[in-house]
Amino acid sequence: MKAFEEELILKAQGGDSYAFGLLYDAYVSQIYRFIFLKLGGMKAEAEDITHQVFMSAWKNIKKYQFQGYPFSSWLYKIARNEVIDFWRTKKNNVSIHDIHEEFLGETDENELSVDIKIDTELVSLCIKRLDSHYQDVLILKFVEELTNEEIAKAMGKTEGSVRVIQHRAIKKLKQEIEHERAHH
């Protein structure tokens, strides 16, 4: 963990809202992305849950303990629980057409070709159909580029099981993409 981040956390634990604001700035994009992908591209819901995650983190900042892992591991853990709660209360099926307009947020569209955009939407839709643990590992490993140790910490699992989940998750995602392409 960076010394600067540790210092910010200590200040936030002491009630320094400015310090927590800096932590918010550092992690809001990746937490939003994690939630957005787990929800399969539901923008409004992803924003609500992201807000709840940081609100909960700020309220419970004193409970956070340094264990040698990034602060993001703790935030991912809160985010996972919030998404689980969301799905408990809402059963939803979002069509690929529903997420088409909002999918990329404020990303510069010139950076991506139309083919890549379609592929990205397809992958996102297929991620949503995966088991929650598969989603977590794929997003944290390949989108956020966390180490297996950090993923294990965020998911409350061993590094060995993270590797097994990662292997199965890619296999399952591949099947989902092939299935989706065959029907469109």
Partner: protein, 152 residues
């Protein structure tokens, strides 16, 4: 194929929240200071503690009432008074019973003395026995006379 999927996954990193959402959410979160919540929580905690104390006092008061009655019932002087009054009551009941028995026996003896029980008088019984025997002998002699007449 796997490499292509991983490449596509990496491209998802371009997803980002709206700036408007970020600034609005950030402001709300930051303005919700833990100190304010702690003060509110402290008020609730003190209110809860006060309520608990009131409940404990009420319960202890209720519990102490039967204890006082119990201790007064164990007072030695009161117990002695109770025992004295109890034994006096028993004696009065016994005297009343004995008086009733005495009256009953006296009245029974008086009845016997006034010969209202004639069937137990000895001389009267002897007279009755004599009368019975006398009647039997007369009847036998009459029967003999009848047999004689029939034989002739």
């Amino acid at each position: 194929m796997n490499e292509r999927i991983i490449k596509q996954l990496k491209q998802l990193k371009s997803i980002a929240p709206d700036n408007a959402f970020v600034s609005r959410s950030r402001e709300i979160v930051i303005n919700t200071t833990p100190a304010k919540r702690s003060r509110l929580a402290l008020i609730f905690a003190w209110s809860g503690a006060a309520a608990m104390i009131m409940i404990i006092i009420s319960i202890s008061y209720i519990m102490s009432a039967p204890t006082m009655a119990l201790s007064s019932s164990l007072n030695e002087t009161k117990i002695n008074e109770e025992i004295d009054s109890l034994s006096a009551g028993i004696e009065v009941q016994q005297i009343t019973y004995e008086q009733k028995v005495s009256q009953t026996v006296t009245s029974a003896l008086q009845e016997v003395g006034e010969t209202k029980v004639n069937h137990l008088n000895e001389s009267l019984l002897e007279k009755e026995v004599a009368g019975i025997n006398k009647g039997s002998e007369t009847e036998i002699s009459e029967a003999d006379a009848l047999f004689d007449r029939a034989a002739k």
